[in-house]
Structure formats: C-alpha cells, structure tokens
Amino acid sequence: MKRAFLNAQLPDGRGGLLIDGDIILAVGKDVTAGNVAGAEVQDCAGLMILPGVIDMRVFTGEPGSEYRETLASASEAAAAGGVTTMITMPNTAPVIDDAAMVDFILRRARDTAKVRVAPMAAITLGARGEAMAELALMKEAGAVAVTDGVRSVGNAALLRRAMVYAHDHDILVVQHVEEPTLSGGVMNVGERASRLGLTGSYALAEVMLLERDIRLVEMTGCRYHAAQISCAESVEVMRRAKDRGLAVSCGVSINHLSLNESDVGAYRTFFKLSPSLRTEEDRLALVAGVAEGVIDVIVSGHDPQSEDTKRLPFAEAAFGAVGLETLLPVSLARYHNRDISLPDLVKALCEAPARLLGLAQGRLVKGAPADFVVLDPHLNWKVEPANLHSRSKNSPYEHTTLEGRATQTWVAGKQIYSYAH
C-alpha cells in the first residue's frame, strides 16, 4: 500500500516522501498532496524526515550476556532512537568468528529484532589476535565487514595477511585503533587523570596504530575503516591518507563530538569510554573533521553495561556507554548549533555507513528500502534511565534534556516506533 508523508523538512529541502510497500517511490518537493492519489497521507509540517540511521558500532549481549542486552532489546532502543539498521560487533560470548555464528545472529535478528541487523564478524579467531578467522565464508554467510571490535589487531604480520586476504574478497577491514602495547589507561592522559590518580590512556596509541595501519593499507590495497578516532592528530592522519587516495575511512562516536575529559568529573563511570574522552581541542577538531568529510561516520558505540560492571571504582569499571537511543538526538544538537549541516549529518549517520558496507538503505531515493525516521527536531525531552529502552542504563546523558527526537521510525515500510509524549 502507498503512504505519503507531506510538507516535511528533508535533508536537502522541503518536500514529501511517497512509499509503496517496503520501497520508496518518490521523494522531494514534487511529492505533494496533488500527486499522491490513493496513498494514505500524513501531514508532516514542522517535522523532519531523514533516512533511518545506520549505526555502525553496536554491542549487544547476545549471545552470552543477555541480561545486559539482547538483539531484541537493543532493537527497541534503536527504534526509539531512529536507528533502523544496527551493525553489531562480534565481541559476544562466544565471539562471532565463524559462518555459523554469523548465521545465528541473522536468524535471531530476523526472529526477534524490530530493526535491521547486519553483523560484523571477527578478523581473528576469538578476536584473540592470533589466527585469521574464516573471513570469506563469514562474508558469504552475511557479515558486512570484519573487525575484532573492542580489540585492535596489534600483530602487523597477521593484519597484513588478513588485509591481503580481505582484499581478494573485497571485505572491509574495521580496526579499533589503539596500539595494544601502549594502552591500559582508564581516561585521557594528562593533568586531570593525574589529579584524579587515574592511569592515563595515550592519544598517541591511537595515532601510532592508525599510521601503521595506513602503511599496511598502502601495501595491500585493502579497504580499511578505523572504527573510532578520538583526537585531533588522528584527524590529520586521516586527512593525509585520504589526500593520498587510499581506500581508508573512519568513524567517531557521538560522545567524542559532544563530551570531553572534564565530563568525567568525579569518577563518573558512564563517561569511561574506549577510546577515552579527550580534550576540548580534540573534540572541536573531531567536529570539524565530520563537517569537512575527513571523518566519514558517526556511531553510537552503544555498549550496554550493567551495575555489576559499571557501579565500580572508576579504574575497575567497564568501558562503554549505551547510545542507540541518543545518537540521533545528540547529533541534532550539532546541527542546531550549526557545527554540522543537516546534509553532512545525514551523510555521516546514514549514507556513509551504507556506502562502506554495501547496503541499499540509508538514502531517501526512489527504489531504496523504505527505512526512514520522522523527527520532531525541536521536541524537548529528558533522558531518564527508566524510560530508556535498552536493558542497560549506562547513558552519559542521563537526566539531560535534549532537543529533538524520532517520533516515528519506519523499517521496510512498516512503522516500528511511535513516540508517546
């Protein structure tokens, strides 16, 4: 059946969206009340319609830690956040490191999740960084890229060979960029960490590994994506690599675009992230990096942690924050204060992930899947842990009022979420 959404603000101007079943039929200023005969019409004046967000970095607890998050509960949070595709990380128990496990995730998602799920699989067996996993068989099973997720592949010989192998099969290699032998800190190194008596994590560990990996990319020709960068110097490294024409891309978490090391305050563990929140100068450079297109993707880095892993002394607490539900609203703040334009935001949240992972969704164009989100860009709402859909409540934005949120989320032409005021 046909549905029309009229008078909305689209990424590139005012207009309407016409869908037929699970496919977009038309989009733009020509979609008006006059030419959508037979369609069920919704007036979206004052609202915004964007492609559904493709969140390229989502951790769940399924399989292995379902008490923290299942694919189903994560998908509830995603739907409420306007995320229509979750790219899941392989760091589960067991690790997603063979074709059968990829198949398991896809089947569980099909049977239990509201949004689309596309898994990344591990580069190495058990994500232990010792032996290459069955990259090509996992790709055949449906893995959209390979990564060791929270871990870096530190062994250069192994990564080089994996990159050569991945290149043969046109597989995207995604790396957590942190030199393992120079890591170990719990917050950004510097005065603050020292005053708090916490061990510092070096931004240099990220820059070093990124620079090394880029050399390997140059050698192997492999497609490479740095999952998250966190500092100004990494932006410059990426800029130089792209200027040299290498097939490299990178992401940044929305947290690193919104927060800095001072937010850690008095040992607030919900701000303990990997990579660490850096300085305000770093944050500004990252925001500029997105606006300039040096940084391709914004992710939530959604990482559900429970009381047992977060209500601990800072040094002992787990890294990570939930973010599926706040990714789009917090990103909108960067649009509201004119840091990043709407088209650039849509590029980073939807189009770039789709392009890198070879997905058909992520764009409002004729023939694309009808995955989209209707937003009220100025709706004020407060992030309250009790109202978050994720099973885990470790949000750095708890008790914060945000401006704008998804009011309807649509996947494949079906409405899967509606915001109740």
Binding site: A131, A133, E134, A136, L137, L158, R161, V164, Y165, D168
Partner: protein, 318 residues
C-alpha cells in the same frame, strides 16, 4: 639408444641446479631422452646399465618418499650403485655443517650427489664445493627442477607439445619450489602460465614472473589445458596464510564443479603428496582427467634422463 661410448652431450652444465640454467633445446633434449626411458621402464627387463660402476649418493635433509625412491630406482636401473644417506642418523645431527658433510661424501668419489634441503640455495652452495655432479632434488622454496621436467614430460605425452598451452598452477605458490620450477620451465617453452590462489599464498612480485594471477578458480581455470594443483601444508591453513582448510577447500579446492571451468578434458596434475579434501577432491584426483599417477611414473624416466645427460659431461666420458 646409442651405446655409452657414443652418447653426445645433451646439456652444458655439470650440475642440474635450476630450470633457469637450462635452454629450450636442452629441455627438449631431456624430454626426448626421458620419453625413450619411459618406454624402457615399461619392459619386463628395465635395466639399461650405461652407468655401471658409477656411485650415486642421495642426501636428503628433508623427508621425502617419492622423490628419493624415484631417484634411487632411476640410478639403479642405469646400473649405478646408489646409497641413501639417512641424515637423521648421520653426523649432521651431531653438529656437522652441511658443507662438511658434502665434502666428506665427495671425498669418497661419488659421481652423483642428489640433494634435498630445506633452505633455498643450499644445493648450489654444495655444488661449488664438490667435484661430482650435483642434482637439486628440491631446495627450500627455490627450485625442484626434475619435478618441472617430469611434469612437462607428462603433459607432452597427452598434449603433444607445450607451445601455446594454458597451464593454471593453483594454490600455495608462495611456498612452492615446484611452482617456481614449473613457471620457469613452462614459460620458457611457450606456455601461458597462470597462477591461481589467494594473494596471501602468492610471492610478492609474482606479476614479474611473466604469469597472470587470478584470485578465483572460475577466472583462473577458464579455458586451461592443464590444471596443476599444489600441496597446501597443514600449518599454513590454520589462520596464518588462509583461515582454515574448509574455507580453502570451499574457494580453491579442485572439485568436479570447478574443473568444469577448464577446457573439456583438461589434465589434472599434482606433485604429491595430496591433501584430499583440502586442495583436491578425491573424485578429481582419481578421475578420468587425472594424470597424477603418471607423473610418478614419468619421474623415474626423467631422472634417468637427467643422470644420463649429466654423466655425458663427466671427465671420464669426455
């Protein structure tokens, strides 16, 4: 066959170290001579004692079944006294260097020293220190010239001439001396050589070998006259060079389906020993297009030809 006294020189070199040392006419000469030995070897009386009184020492630092026994039988059929040095029980295991071992053996006046060693270049090194004829039976990842010669002989028996053929060499080219010798020999003889396999199993600079590299069997085998499979060692398919045996088999194992990409009736070859279910399916290995057992048979004939040819360059023959 001419009598021993009237055997004209066939090759120039004193040793057989690498295919790259041989000219086209020398290769052709060896193929022709080996073809006659192949006939002799099918007789009930296989003796052709032209090397009676000569001594051949097989010095194998790496384990080998088929190559060592092939050289032993070849030598014996030509009348040589053949001795197999068991390296594991020799002075090498007491700390003697490779060169000292070779010099010691050389002092016993052998005529042929057949050497296999795990390090590339060792056989050539030995050849500089001894006065007998040295035959390379495989050195590291460098060359295995008699394998390439026997492969060429096998192909010629089925497809008449090498010129203009397309041969696809599939699998672990990186670690393979067989592949290097075959690439050198076949290219020299006017064959279009392809290598097929994951890039992790290709030596760097492979394009400069004058071969075409394909990463899929479909493209690499298309229209090939000969499909030559290489052995993939177990330790290389557990996450180091390729993820696993099953992934390797899925993409690169020669099955009946993948063989259909090649020319109808294309020859299937394998230097052995085979990993059934890894690089080759049993149905193909034992199938109508397989000449794998014939390769073993031709091995003896070709090694007889090599011993014969080298003997013609010895001082006593001059």
């Amino acid at each position: 066959m001419s009598s021993p006294a009237h055997r004209p020189p066939l090759i120039k070199a004193q040793h057989l170290l690498a295919v790259s040392d041989l000219s086209v006419s020398e290769i052709t000469g060896l193929l022709d001579l080996a073809a006659t030995y192949a006939e002799v070897n099918r007789n009930a009386d296989k003796r052709h004692a032209i090397l009676s009184g000569s001594t051949q020492v097989n010095l194998f630092f790496e384990n080998s079944t088929r190559t060592q026994s092939s050289f032993e039988i070849a030598g014996k059929r030509l009348g040589c006294d053949v001795m197999n040095m068991a390296v594991s029980t020799s002075s090498i295991s007491k700390g003697e260097t490779v060169l000292d071992t070779a010099i010691t053996i050389n002092a016993m006046q052998p005529d042929f020293l057949v050497v296999r060693h795990q390090s590339s270049g060792t056989v050539e090194l030995l050849s500089q220190k001894v006065s007998c004829a040295v035959i390379n039976a495989g050195d590291g990842q460098h060359e295995h010239p008699t394998q390439a010669l026997l492969d060429a002989l096998t192909i010629c028996r089925h497809l008449k001439s090498l010129e203009g053929l397309t041969v696809a060499i599939c699998g672990d080219v990186y670690h393979s001396r067989v592949a290097r010798s075959n690439i050198a020999l076949l290219s020299k003889m006017g064959v279009r050589v392809r290598v097929v396999g994951p890039t992790t199993l290709m030596p760097s600079g492979i394009a400069k070998f004058g071969v075409e590299h394909f990463t899929t069997m479909k493209d690499g085998l298309a229209g090939a006259d000969v499909v030559m499979m290489l052995r993939l060692q177990v330790e290389r398919m557990s996450g180091s060079f390729v993820p696993s045996a099953r992934e390797y088999y899925h993409f690169y194992g020669l099955t009946e389906d993948k063989l259909k990409y090649a020319k109808p009736g294309a020859l299937v070859m394998h230097p052995g020993p085979m990993n059934r279910g890894v690089e080759i399916d049993s149905a193909v290995a034992d199938g109508a297009q397989s000449v794998i057992r014939e390769q073993v048979e031709m091995g003896v004939a070709m090694r007889m030809a090599v011993l014969d040819a080298l003997s013609r360059n010895m001082r006593s023959q001059a």
